[in-house]
Amino acid sequence: MADVTRSPLAPLTPTSAALRLVWLRIRRNWPSAIALVLIVAMMLAALLANWIAPYEPDATDAEAALRVPSLHHWLGTDIYGRDLLSRIIFAARVDLTVAFGATALALAIGSTIGAVAGLYRGLVDLVIMRCVDSIMAFPAFILAMAITAALGNSVTNVLIAISLTQIPNYLRLIRGEIFRIREMEYADAARVVGNPAWRIIFIHLLPNCLPPIIVQATLAMGYALLTMAALSFIGLGIQPPQSEWGSMTAEGAQYIVTGEWWLFLFPGLAIVLMVLSFNLIGDSLRDFLDPRMRGVR
């Protein structure tokens, strides 16, 4: 029966051919490639802030206050003479931590509970869904505000608050996906072969729910960033002298009237670019993780 072993496609490609495939996919999705570069660049900048930033974020310089962007200060300075570029780079730490952290936490908790609801149905599902409904009855932002106010102003608490408001989304999404695939034959096959429930959830069902989750997660990261920014815009969450893009934009807004446009534009631009990048990589990341998309134009 050796004849059937010749598979329809070429055998496993060596490195050069694999690289070529990666290049083709990048070329197909150049907006996403750019987005990915931006995100990685920002993450690296945040990590290496101590070495990259030209000045200390808190270093005041009374003589250099409110300078227009120039060679000394690429993005200008604020009223205390602090370099805007350095502040933005250091602020990236807070923003990206909250964006990734809140999303990851919400995804982990929401998916697990959603999977349980989808798999067991009945009373378990009923109870879980009614709890979810109560959480979703509140406008997400109001809820985030309330939780932050209750827990106290700190970055960690903001992270928890934002992730709590995001949990219902993943929960419902996963639950819906589980409904769809629990009737699939490979789920049945997994049962017949003797898999315990936890393996069916984590090895067979959840990985196949990933595509819509990935897209949701990348969109949600943008939303988490915006929520963080909005919370500090109104004074909740972080405290000065900690810098964060939202609070920087809030402070900078006061100066539009007096003509110091850079104080509000650059932090705002940072938010926009990050959110846009998250949105753009959503679809491509989903395709990239799908074994079926290999080799398809």
Partner: protein, 325 residues
């Protein structure tokens, strides 16, 4: 020789839910129930194959699923190797699973798209034995070899394989725990007619080599004819005829069997077709005709067919449920 598996008068009824069902129940005076399987008894001897044929909606897949506990029978008993399966707990049943495996209908849909062939075949070994990773790998590769898939395919994913290859992976997965009975739910229906031969011959080879028993469920009568020693025909949840292969195909007793055999297209342009045809459509399993279930469509129907019809022996080893035989 006592049978390996004995199914005794099982019934699988699904209660309908929702407001429409409730209204219907009010109207009919009894709860609305889908009688998918309504009293089926079969037995499979060690090392033999029983074919279970019928068209869609007859309940044959439900019988298969009941055997592997994907669905619980509402009544009746299933004895496997002397043990009564219906009274086992889930954990106890799990210990039996290595002996009782299943191959599903859609070759590609029965494989998790995210697992490589190797992982699919190694999983049952991992779940039920204590073998080391190297031993698992060896056993998986040995089984893949046996079903005709080379080691180079072990790291592929289901979407990279053809339908026939996917089906072989399914068979390998069922085989890897050394089962005694394999339930095959339409294993060739999703394959091209020209590929069925390979799978059928492979199944026969494996059966002889390992002394396996099969419950082969299909609407492809030609494949069943090749493999089965005994055949049972199902219609609307009950068995209407059961006989040895030769008897059933050469001397069908029940009108439904006759109609089924007449409808199979034969690859011979000069073949004369038996013009025996059933009228109308299959009734819904919620509204089953009283008496003989076929009487609303049978060209030979008589008034007596409204009476309940038990299955009787009409010739040695040949059973049929028809008043007119």
């Amino acid at each position: 020789m006592s049978p390996l598996c004995e199914v005794d008068d099982i019934k699988v009824h699904f209660a309908l839910r929702g407001s429409a069902a409730w209204l219907r129940a009010l109207k009919d005076g009894k709860p609305a129930v889908v009688r998918a399987v309504d009293g089926v008894s079969i037995s499979i001897d060690p090392g033999s194959m029983l074919g279970l044929v019928g068209e869609s909606g007859c309940g044959k897949s439900t019988v298969a699923r009941a055997l592997v506990r994907l669905v619980r029978p509402t009544a009746g008993s299933i004895r496997f190797d002397g043990t009564e399966l219906t009274s086992l707990s889930d954990d106890e049943f799990n210990k039996i699973r290595p002996n009782l495996q299943m191959v599903f209908q859609d070759p590609a849909a029965s494989l998790n798209p995210r697992l490589s062939v190797r992982r699919v075949v190694e999983e049952p070994i991992k779940l039920h034995t204590e073998l080391s990773a190297a031993e698992r790998r060896e056993r998986a590769e040995a089984v893949l070899e046996e079903v005709g898939l080379g080691a180079d395919l072990a790291d592929r994913y289901p979407h990279e394989l053809s339908g026939g290859q996917c089906q072989r992976v399914n068979i390998a997965r069922a085989l890897v725990t050394n089962p005694r009975l394999i339930v095959l739910d339409e294993p060739t229906s999703a394959l091209d007619v020209s590929l069925r031969a390979r799978v059928i011959l492979l199944l026969e080879e494996l059966r002889q080599r390992h002394g396996l028993s099969y419950l082969f469920i299909s609407h492809d009568l030609a494949s069943v004819r090749y493999l089965a020693s005994r055949v049972a025909v199902m219609y609307l949840g009950v068995i209407v005829e059961e006989a040895s292969r030769a008897e059933l195909f050469d001397h069908p007793a029940h009108p439904y069997t006759r109609a089924l055999l007449a409808a199979v297209p034969v690859p011979d342009p000069d073949a004369k077709r038996d013009p025996f045809v059933l009228s109308g459509e299959i009734p819904s399993p919620i509204d089953i005709p009283t008496g003989c279930r076929l009487r609303t469509r049978c060209p030979l129907a008589q008034p007596v067919c409204a009476e309940p019809v038990p299955i009787r022996e009409v010739a040695p080893g040949h059973f049929a449920a028809c008043h007119l035989v």
